[in-house]
Every structure is written in C-alpha cells, then in structure tokens.
C-alpha cells in the first residue's frame, strides 16, 4: 500500500507538483500564516520557496509531508476496519499531515530566519520524530474508535 502511494506520488511531474500543489497548497498558505503572525517579516511565496530578506526556505518534493501521510494512510487502509472508518481515518491522516506540515514549515522559517543554528537539528531529527509520534497517537485513537464502532 505504501509503495503504491509512493509510486503514484513520484509519477506526478515536477512542474505540476511545484507550481500547483506546493505553491497553492503549501507555500502560499504558509506565507500567509507567517505574515499574519509577524507582518514585519514580509514573506513572499515564490514558486516553491518562502522568501524574505532574512531567510529563504525551499519546499521540494518530500517536504510536503507526503511520506508521513502515506505511512499513516497505508496503516489505516491495511487495518481491519469498515470501509467508511478507513476512509474517515485516511481523511483525518491527510488533515493531520497538512496541519502539522504547515506548522513545521512556518516554524522552520522562523528558525531559519532567527536561529539558523537550530535548523538542521529540528529539520533532520526532532520534527520528523515528533511527526511520527503524533501520527502514532492519531493511529492509536483511530484504532480504538474503529474497533469500538465495529463492535457495536
């Protein structure tokens, strides 16, 4: 299941992903959030990049939380549950992925702009681990919910 989702994701052409999915779905909202929180940052969204005078954060294939979403979705789809529970779980997984990823990008932008020494540790180590942990909590909650619903 995971491999299938991964294959489909990598079948998406780069321009489509960068200019549409990443730009409208991720970079533009993230720039909006940063500007709302700190208007003086004057961040602009330029294709796949969050840009300002103090930092430039590129969002490329893989920075969109796809791997995390696929992992969580594959786990739910492969679990023994009713189809509607699986679909609800996948929807929740996508929502959680999107929210966490936007938070991650906004956080990483501020870190890059103001504490760049922390960037690597957060980007490579703490944030991926935290996201997997958050996904695990969602999965556990979903498992309990789906099982109770199945037992009713």
């Amino acid at each position: 299941m995971y491999t299938l989702l991964h294959g489909l994701y990598f079948a998406l052409p780069d321009p489509l992903l960068r200019d549409w999915v990443h730009y409208y779905g991720i970079v533009l909202p993230a720039a909006g959030i940063v500007n709302f929180m700190a208007p003086h940052e004057a961040v602009s969204a330029a294709r796949g990049t969050l840009q300002s005078s103090s930092a430039s954060l590129s969002i490329v294939r893989g920075c969109d939380g796809a791997g995390f979403a696929f992992l969580l979705s594959a786990a739910m789809l492969a679990s023994p549950a009713r189809l509607r529970h699986k679909l609800a779980g996948v929807l929740g997984a996508l929502l959680l992925t999107y929210l966490l990823n936007e938070l991650r990008l906004v956080g990483l932008y501020f870190v890059l702009a103001h504490r760049s020494a922390w960037f690597s540790s957060l980007h490579d180590y703490f944030l991926p681990t935290f996201m997997i942990l958050a996904g695990s909590v969602l999965f556990l909650c979903w498992t309990a919910w789906a099982r109770e619903a199945r037992g009713r």
Binding site: Y9, L71, S79, D124, T129, L133, C141
Partner: protein
C-alpha cells in the same frame, strides 16, 4: 510506533481500549523524549560504533569505490563524511570514463539524519508494553538482530546513492544519457518515508515474535499488574504472508 503495530496489519491487529490510550501515548512520548535526548547527547559515541558498520555495508552495496566514512564537525554540527576512492574506471559515456584510483569529492550526511531510524526503532520497541522481563529480553535481542537491517538500508545506502547520483549528473553534463541506478531509486524510496517505515516494520516484527515466543509459555503475562488490554495474552499466528495477533479472552493462556 503504534502505526506499525497496526499497519503491517495484513494481519497484526492491535486492540487498544480507550482507557489504555492515554497511558500508551504518555509512555510513547516519554520514551521518545528520553531516547531522543540520549541519542543527541551521545551522537559522537554512537557514530564511533556505527561508522565501521557503515563502511562494511558500503563495500557490500557496491564495488566501484572504497571509502572510510568518518564523523566530522562542521558549523557546530556532526556530519558523516565519505570520500570515495575509485577502484575501477566508471564509464560515463562511450568515450568518457572516470579513471580508476582517483578520489572523488567528499559526500556528507548529517549525523542527526542518520540517527532518526534508530530512535524510531528503539522507541517503537520499548513503547509497546511487555508482559514479563523474559519478553522484554527477547524483544531486546530481536531488536539487536533487526538493527543491522535498519542501519544498512538507511545511511550507507544514502551515501552510496549520493555518489551514484553525482556520477549520473556528471554523465548528463557531458551529454551522455544515463539511467537512474537501482540503489538511487532505493535511496529515494527510503528518504521519502521508507526510513520511517523500515524501523517501524522491524519493531512490529520484534514485538510480534517476542509475544509469540514468550506469551503462553511459563511466564505469566499479568504478573503484578492491572490486567490492561496490552498485558493480556496475545496469540500470534504466523501465516505465509502475514503475522496475525488475536486477543485472547481473559484467563486464557
């Protein structure tokens, strides 16, 4: 962690009751925090243990070059540096080739990046409650056995793939067409989520097998504990393609 414990679930079914959720989540969070902090503090020592393994695995993965990866500090960050030394000529096109016995530029991977799969594996294995110290010991032993697989398919694979990608790019710059090498495809899969999937898969295998080996044996799984969902005996059935765990009714061993 729990992802796995249900995800590889072409059979391994997890039963989590609402009352146990909070405890399990707290336990996961605490274990993850401790493992993360310890790993960050001991990253240099961990690398000292892992680098010889990386070296062996890199040699097993390919035969074009040798390289002794080492840990270096760059801009207050520990990195794994690998400088490949070509043992044979590598052809870029019909007319062009990299000569043998030349040193390629160094390739780097962050130590933090290399340690994430290990943190996930340890957290996943330790988070799922065990019924007895025997089960814990068996699980720890199985984790040690699974560790080389996680180590092999993450950082060494990435380092080798980076070298191969560099060679492919060089070939393209010289107008030669080039196909994506299999190790590069594998590394892309691992880097885009496979490096999380793999330790979690190994973890569920360790948990399932340790339950299979210990629960139902001489050791009582509920010794001194409130009989929670997790501590109840679990029957693990091995099928050709899946592992299936079925909760047994209370009292059945």
């Amino acid at each position: 962690m729990a992802l796995l414990l249900g995800s590889v679930n072409s059979g391994f079914e997890v039963f989590v009751h609402r009352g146990d959720l909070f405890r399990l989540c707290l336990r996961m969070l605490a274990i993850c925090a401790v493992v993360s902090v310890v790993t960050v503090l001991a990253q240099r020592e961990l690398m000292a243990c892992l680098l010889p393994c990386f070296n062996v695995i890199i040699r097993l993965l390919q035969s074009d070059f040798v390289a002794s990866p080492r840990a270096v500090e760059m801009h207050n960050e520990w990195m794994i540096q690998m400088t490949p030394f070509l043992l044979r000529a590598v052809s870029l096109s019909d007319q062009l080739a990299l000569r043998r016995f030349v040193e390629l530029p160094p390739f780097f991977v962050g130590v933090n990046h290399a340690l994430v799969p290990l943190v996930l594996l340890i957290t996943a294995v330790a988070s799922w409650p065990f019924a007895s110290s025997r089960e814990a010991a068996v699980r720890a032993l199985l984790t040690l056995l699974g560790l080389p697989l996680v180590v092999a398919l993450t950082t060494p694979l990435l380092l080798v793939a980076r070298v191969q990608m560099w060679i492919v790019e060089l070939a393209l710059q010289h107008g030669a067409g080039s196909r994506e090498p299999a190790l590069v495809s594998a590394a892309i899969f691992m880097e885009s989520g496979g490096r999380w999937l793999l330790p979690l898969t190994v973890a569920i295998a360790c948990v399932a097998v340790s339950k299979r080996l210990c629960v139902g044996g001489a050791v009582h799984p509920l010794k001194g504990r409130r009989p929670s969902t997790f501590a109840r005996p679990v029957k693990v059935v091995f099928a050709p393609v899946c592992v299936e765990a079925v909760e047994m009714p209370p009292g059945v061993r």
